[in-house]
């Protein structure tokens, strides 16, 4: 009896090992990719931030020199501030916009396909093309936007939207409504909203709930996991994707008003050839992403509702 049992456990163990081996065989492309393109670069960035390396020269260990330089540089603090303001506001604004569009689309039965197409349209325009078209639309003297407002109000309306240190913010936030990530969030919200059980709304109506109460007590809890997902993806997108729209649109200007960290990093490494200092900025950007993600997950415990 005991021998057969021993054989069985031996076979089971053998099967388990074989299972694990084949699992890791399937994982091997990712393991190589992770080591080469994620793990090694992360270690490299942290190490190089303590050196004065350039493209040609691997440099020497300079301890905290780069960090000291960075923390004493008012340009860095401005860039960090701009990154925070830009990320937080653009996440909030694009999420609200995407959510409202999704609500409208789900309420509208007729011509639904048409409206979804038109609302998703800006998302398929490449960000470079979008940036250039908005440069034309918001141009001070020849732009159609100022001209239209001017003709409606009958006054000479010519703010310089993209070249004024204050006005550039609302302008850029408005342009963020046209990005791919906004369109993507709209579609994700749509499918989330469709899955909210109808009975819940009916029950709420029977209880005499107002539209706002229905939103607060039915819609919001049901879509909260999707809202969390969108918030996390949008904030990573804001740290990362800001480059693709701001680089062609403002190049960080006017006077550094939109100079987010990813633009500073690009300039330091690829134009000024300061690898060590650039890696310092990368470390900050990396930590910022960690902070964003952890804050959101920590806060989400308070407001995200999971069914089980």
């Amino acid at each position: 009896m005991s021998t057969t049992k021993a054989i069985q456990t031996k076979q089971a163990r053998k099967r388990k090992i074989k299972n694990a081996l084949s699992a890791y065989a399937f994982l091997s492309p990712w393991i190589i990719g992770f080591l080469l393109f994620s793990a090694y670069p992360i270690v490299y960035v942290f190490t190089m931030s303590f050196t004065n390396a350039t493209m040609m020269n691997s440099g020497e260990f300079v301890q905290f020199d780069n960090y000291i330089k960075m923390f004493n540089d008012s340009g860095f603090w401005k860039s960090l501030w701009v990154t925070l303001v830009f990320s937080i506001f653009s996440v909030i604004i694009t999420i609200i916009w995407a959510f409202c569009l999704a609500m409208l689309l789900n309420a509208q039965k007729r011509f639904n396909g048409f409206f979804q197409f038109v609302y998703f349209l800006p998302a398929v325009v490449p960000s470079v093309a979008l940036a250039f078209s908005f440069q034309m639309i918001f141009a001070k003297d020849t732009g159609i936007f100022n001209y239209m407002i001017g003709s409606v109000t009958g006054s000479n309306f010519s703010p310089n939207w993209l070249y004024d240190e204050t006005l550039v913010y609302p302008t850029v936030f408005f342009i963020m409504l046209f990005t791919y990530s906004t369109g993507q969030m709209m579609l994700i919200f749509r499918s989330g909203l469709k899955e909210v059980p109808r009975e819940l709304y009916e029950a709420a109506s029977l209880d005499g709930a107002s539209a706002f109460q229905k939103f607060r007590n039915v819609t919001f809890p049901s879509i909260s996991p999707i809202l969390l997902f969108n918030t996390v993806m949008a904030s990573i997108g804001a740290l990362n994707g800001a480059f693709a729209i701001l680089f062609p649109l403002t190049e960080g200007g006017p006077n550094g008003a939109t100079n987010v960290l990813s633009l500073s990093l690009y300039r330091e490494v690829f134009l000024n050839n300061r690898i060590g200092y650039g890696c310092c900025l990368a470390v900050i950007l990396f930590l910022l992403a960690v902070v964003f993600a952890s804050v959101q997950f920590a806060m989400s415990k308070k407001w995200v509702y999971y069914e089980n």
Partner: protein, 283 residues
């Protein structure tokens, strides 16, 4: 009666609001097409015109009969094909054990994959640039194609979500029939997963059609630039020297770059929408 009127009124307001938003979202798109048919002079004149006074097809003609546009388009297409093929093969392979097998370290591997999804790509671009420089790959498309064959975390995540939704009983049945792990993947899971392959293929194509950051950093010469980078550099000052922005060419190229994704949306919106939804799924 009164409530019916109220409902009617609110839906009229809704339609008006929706049409207004539609005008906003469609405007940049119309502006690109309209400007692409203007002369550069008309673009820089006041007052701006909504439609071109005398539509000029010259910019399109010059672009489509010259070599440059096609060369940049070829590079964009190479990026799309390389990445899509690479990521479909590698990411589906990697996602399979995560969705269907039990093995030690599974949760750890999955957590690392989710964590790497959240690292902003630009933070790691410096070491990657140095590495590709050592490989002698700068100013080629290789730095953007080869990594695709080593599984992108985000696509692994999408494949895993889909594979988990395929009933597990099928695996057991196949195992009893003497199917190995590889056989199970190829005979059971992959044939059932056609939609997710199309979806990830489309998302990857759209991504690389729009991607600016990586080619901007890795490619310098016109030979390997994709359309996005060429738009910012070569087409911005097309034929009037380095100080005059050739807006009409910029807009003509932009117009040409909008058409394929629109065609894709119109023909495959089902897969695109489905894929984006899958990425929002919890679990």
């Amino acid at each position: 009666m009164r409530t019916r009127h109220a409902i009617h009124a609110s839906s009229v307001v809704r339609v008006i609001v929706m049409l207004f938003i539609a005008m906003i979202t469609i405007f940049p798109f119309l502006w690109i097409f309209s400007s692409s048919l203007k002369t550069n002079l008309e673009i820089s004149q006041f007052p701006p015109t909504l439609l071109p006074k005398d539509p000029q097809w010259e910019a399109f003609g010059k672009l489509l009969t010259g070599d440059l546009f096609w060369q940049f388009l070829r590079n964009t297409l190479l990026l799309i094909i390389g990445n899509t093929v690479g990521t479909l093969i590698s990411s589906s392979f990697v996602a399979y054990p995560l969705a269907r097998l039990n093995f030690p370290g599974k949760n750890l591997v999955f957590s690392i994959i989710v964590a790497t999804m959240m690292v902003p790509g630009i933070t790691l671009i410096t070491p990657q640039y140095m590495m590709f420089n050592n490989f002698g790959w700068l100013d080629t498309l290789l730095p953007m194609i080869v990594p695709a064959f080593f599984a992108y975390p985000y696509n692994v995540f999408l494949f895993r979500q889909f594979f988990r939704s395929v009933p597990k009983d099928l695996d057991e049945a196949a195992y009893i029939d003497g199917c190995g792990r590889v056989g199970m993947l190829f005979r059971i899971l992959l044939p059932l997963s056609r939609p997710v392959f199309i979806t990830i293929g489309i998302l990857s194509a759209v991504f690389w059609w729009n991607e600016l950051t990586q080619p901007l950093i890795y490619v310098n010469s016109d030979t390997w630039k994709p359309l996005t980078v060429a738009l910012m550099t070569r087409f911005k000052f097309f034929d009037e020297g380095p100080n005059t922005v050739t807006w009409n060419y910029l807009m003509a190229v932009s117009a040409l770059m909008i058409l394929p994704p629109i065609a894709l949306y119109l023909s495959a919106s089902r897969y695109l929408v489905e894929g984006i939804k899958t990425s929002g799924m919890k679990g």
